[in-house]
């Protein structure tokens, strides 16, 4: 169920959009309106990994803990659930790149013309994490997750500068993709599997899924201590 890509009606349209021009019409469009069916606030499926392998998940957990370390401000990215979040995203419409224009021909353009990725986000993770694993094996004889924090930070810094030699994979775009998704896992509503106990919102002082501040607007500059609320509460 693609809660993150709009209504059930639009997902089949998105899937069909990148098929052949004379391909089959979109299937699966609901025939009639059902109360609550179009927009459930769904918690993520619990249980094991849906897309990532155990090794990929371990690597991502280690990366998440460097991008968002545990410190006095909050728990780290791994404990916050960033890996579970990313795994669910990669298994769904985000990972499949359903919103992207994916027709050829493909050319590398100017920086202004932006990404021209033939691979979906899910495919980019698979290829990127494999390239990173291969690099670490060759250089250090172990996986990324087994390296010490200082070495991990050096590798991430190098990726961010587009200077890590990962073969076919450009390291900066891979870094930016992972950074974006780790941040989302940390900061999105917990209904998506991350931001455990609203740790990031408590760190920031963000009230979460609240909808009415009329009584507070005139109290300008006041430090409020709103207990953050999640959509999980609305769904139950």
């Amino acid at each position: 169920m693609a809660a993150v890509a709009g209504t059930a009606a639009s997902v089949p349209l998105l899937r069909a959009a990148n098929a052949d021009a004379d391909g089959a019409p979109p299937a699966g469009t609901p025939a009639k309106w059902e109360a609550g069916a179009a927009n459930p606030a769904l918690p993520p499926r619990s249980g094991g990994l849906l897309y990532l392998t155990a090794t990929e998940a371990e690597t991502l957990g280690a990366i998440a803990d460097r991008l968002i370390p545990a410190d006095e401000l909050s728990i780290g990215g791994k404990e916050a659930g960033c890996v579970a979040f990313i795994d669910r995203q990669l298994d769904g419409t985000f990972g499949q790149g359903v919103s992207d224009y994916r027709r050829g021909p493909y050319y590398q353009g100017t920086p202004e013309q932006g990404p021209q990725n033939k691979l979906t986000p899910a495919q980019r993770y698979r290829a990127g994490l494999a390239a990173l694993a291969g690099y670490c094996q060759r250089e250090f004889g172990k996986g990324f997750a087994q390296l010490d924090a200082a070495t991990q930070d050096k590798l991430l810094t190098s990726m961010e500068a587009n200077q890590l030699a990962l073969g076919e994979v450009d390291s900066k775009p891979l870094f930016e993709l992972i950074l974006q998704n780790v941040r989302e896992g940390f900061l999105a509503d917990p209904v998506y599997g991350g931001n455990k106990d609203m740790a990031s919102w408590k760190m920031l002082g963000f009230p979460g899924a609240r909808y009415d501040f009329r009584d507070y607007m005139d109290r300008k500059g006041e430090k409020f201590n709103f207990i953050p609320v999640s959509l999980v509460d609305s769904a139950s």
Binding site: V4, S99, G109
Partner: protein, 591 residues
């Protein structure tokens, strides 16, 4: 052709603000109207009630209500010497893909343009002479004036429920309003929204510099309201989930909240959602449209015959539909001939990022258009003698809500983007970081234009729209000027510790620069068919039973958001159709 629907008096392509307002006017005048909307039905109760609306990942990060590039992308290049490539991923453009269009997800800044903005050629020549203009710049009058549109601005504001304070009421300047606005006959239908800590600090700083701050007119209701169509709206709760979100309170002015509830009740109105118009069809002589061809959600092709065709599909899609329908002469950049696709422009953004030291801005409270602005450096409100450019910008601060995911890189220059230092800096910036935003005029240029891409196609096999655009010399100069003014204002704001200048025009433009989503022109209105596609009633010169409503009509962009002007122009065109065209179908203006 197997599938032909019964003929309509008018077919409307795209049911956003333009389509809804046009449909309301035409159905009330008794016409049988069919509207075709590519996107699905959306309403507050089903799609964005408070229980699901407050979700930044879904609506903002994943843009769940925005047209995905998979459905229709455009191709882009900076200059004609490059090969255009598709903008394949989410970028700065936010096209609608739903009943309600972009009017469902917009921020709600509801402006009137000033008298200067409609007659820039006349004004500039009178005040500065010809030598002010940079090479290749396109500056031309619209054919319609602010005075023509004033009653229609008034009606749009009342339908949409705009909150604000007049600055020029029947010639009298009013404190607290915008002293530079065009004269208006009536006050706003609702008082201005509440101010915030940020707008208070901005106002004090601006006044110290002798500038004139005012609350930006907002399509968020400052109280309960019933609009002229009899539709009730709720009061805005300052929830901070506005731009990119539908409103769960019926307090953001939108087609869904303000117009469609009435349209639904009219038996002479038909809406076909999830129906994609491929093109309008023309009669043998090429001078009359016979209707449109569309594809329904099952992939079946249909014809919708009609006496009147209205393109109200948003700026880019209007231009593309004209080109695909072979209406009007396409602009040829090499020869300079033709008009469809010519005069494309944007919004010129510059300003600052600012960081306070120990503030409590509480930016999670707010509304999409809750802003304070100064217009002292906008349009032609100041003397441009010797400056080497025309235009300027409104300079404003916005209390629009927080974006925990969206603002993760909003940090002082040099701050690490990950690690414990990032966490500390981001926590601080959450209460202390914001923007002084210069939203500037944009003039078009002979080298910036739209046409059909020779290579890339959509799912129906039709060419994508190709955009050739970069900032011109005039707009680069105005952006640099405004950047300096924003720096001055920033330093005048009490408690500001870091000021980081920003200028989107100091580098090549990219659709991945998220400075503004205002996309303007390409099927402009005017007085001369050699330099315009439409006459002053937004009627196509070459095919008089086709009308095109949207920002595609603007030959230039003002230093304001475009929606108010789009709404006013639509109502103006509707009135011309009802009062004059229907009585005597044909060109409303002799070329």
């Amino acid at each position: 052709m197997a599938n032909i629907r019964p003929k309509a008096d008018a077919v409307i392509v795209g049911l956003g603000w333009c389509g809804s307002l046009m449909a309301e006017e035409l159905t009330r005048a008794g016409l049988n109207v069919v509207a075709l909307e590519r996107g699905p039905w959306r309403d507050a109760a089903t799609d964005f009630p408070p229980a699901v609306d407050a979700d930044e990942l879904r609506w903002d990060a994943r843009r769940s209500m925005i047209l995905p590039p998979a459905i229709e992308a455009l191709t882009f290049r900076n200059t004609s010497s490059e090969r255009a490539l598709p903008a394949r991923e989410w970028n700065t453009f936010d096209f609608g893909y739903n009943v309600g269009g972009a009017g469902t997800h917009w921020a709600g800044m509801a402006w009137r343009f000033t008298p200067f903005d409609f007659q820039p050629a006349t004004h500039v020549k009178a005040r500065y002479g010809q030598q002010q203009l940079a090479d290749g710049l396109i500056v031309q009058d619209w054919g319609v004036t602010y005075a023509d549109l004033e009653p229609y601005y008034d009606r749009f504001e009342k339908i949409a429920g705009i909150s604000g304070k007049a600055g020029n009421l029947r010639g009298e300047k009013i404190d607290g309003g915008n002293p530079f606005e065009g004269e208006r006959a009536e006050e706003f239908p609702l008082p201005a929204l509440k101010s915030t800590r940020l707008t208070d600090i901005f106002d004090a700083g601006a006044r110290k510099l002798g500038l004139h701050p005012f609350m930006v007119p907002a399509a968020q209701t400052s109280g309960a309201y019933t609009n002229p169509l009899g539709v009730k709206m709720g009061p805005c709760t300052y929830c901070g989930y506005c731009l990119y979100y539908g409103c769960g309170n019926w307090s953001k002015g939108s087609p869904n909240a303000c117009v469609i509830p009435v349209l639904k009740m009219r038996s002479n109105f038909t809406l076909l959602a999830e129906s994609t118009v491929l093109r309008a069809n023309l009669a043998e002589d090429g001078k009359t449209a016979t209707g449109v061809t569309y594809v329904d959600k099952d992939g079946q092709q249909w014809e919708q015959p009609a006496d009147i065709v209205v393109f109200s599909a948003f700026q880019a899609q209007n231009v593309r539909l004209l080109l695909l329908s072979k209406i009007g002469q396409p602009y040829d950049h090499r020869t300079g001939q033709g008009v469809v696709g010519r005069a494309y422009c944007y919004q010129t953004v510059s300003g600052t990022s600012i960081f306070f030291d120990d503030e409590q801005l509480n930016q999670y409270m707010g509304a999409g258009a809750l802003s304070s602005q100064v217009d002292d450096w906008n349009g032609d409100n100041f003397d441009h003698t010797g400056l080497g450019f025309i235009g300027g910008a409104g300079i404003l601060v916005v209390s629009r809500g927080s974006r925990p995911i969206g603002n993760t890189d909003f940090l002082p220059a040099g701050t690490p983007r990950w690690g414990s230092e990032w966490k500390k800096a981001y926590k601080h910036a959450f209460q202390n970081g914001t923007v002084v935003f210069g939203q500037g005029t944009s003039y078009s240029h002979k080298d910036s234009y739209l046409d059909l891409d020779p290579t890339y196609k959509d799912m129906h096999g039709q060419p994508l729209l190709r955009m050739t655009f970069d900032f011109n010399e005039n707009d680069k100069r105005s952006a640099a000027f405004i950047e300096q003014k924003a720096i001055e204002i920033s330093h005048a704001m009490a408690g500001v510790k870091h000021v980081v200048p920003t200028n989107s025009a100091d580098r090549k433009w990219s659709p991945y620069d998220l400075a503004s989503d205002h996309t303007i022109g390409g099927a402009v209105m005017g007085m001369d068919p050699k330099t315009s596609v439409l006459n002053r009633y937004q009627q196509v010169w070459d095919v008089p039973n086709v009308f095109v409503c949207g920002a595609s009509s603007f030959p230039n962009n003002a230093g304001y958001n475009p929606t108010g002007t789009i709404g006013a122009l639509t109502l103006w065109t509707a009135r011309a159709i009802i009062d004059r065209y229907l009585k005597n179908p044909g060109p409303l203006v002799q070329a």
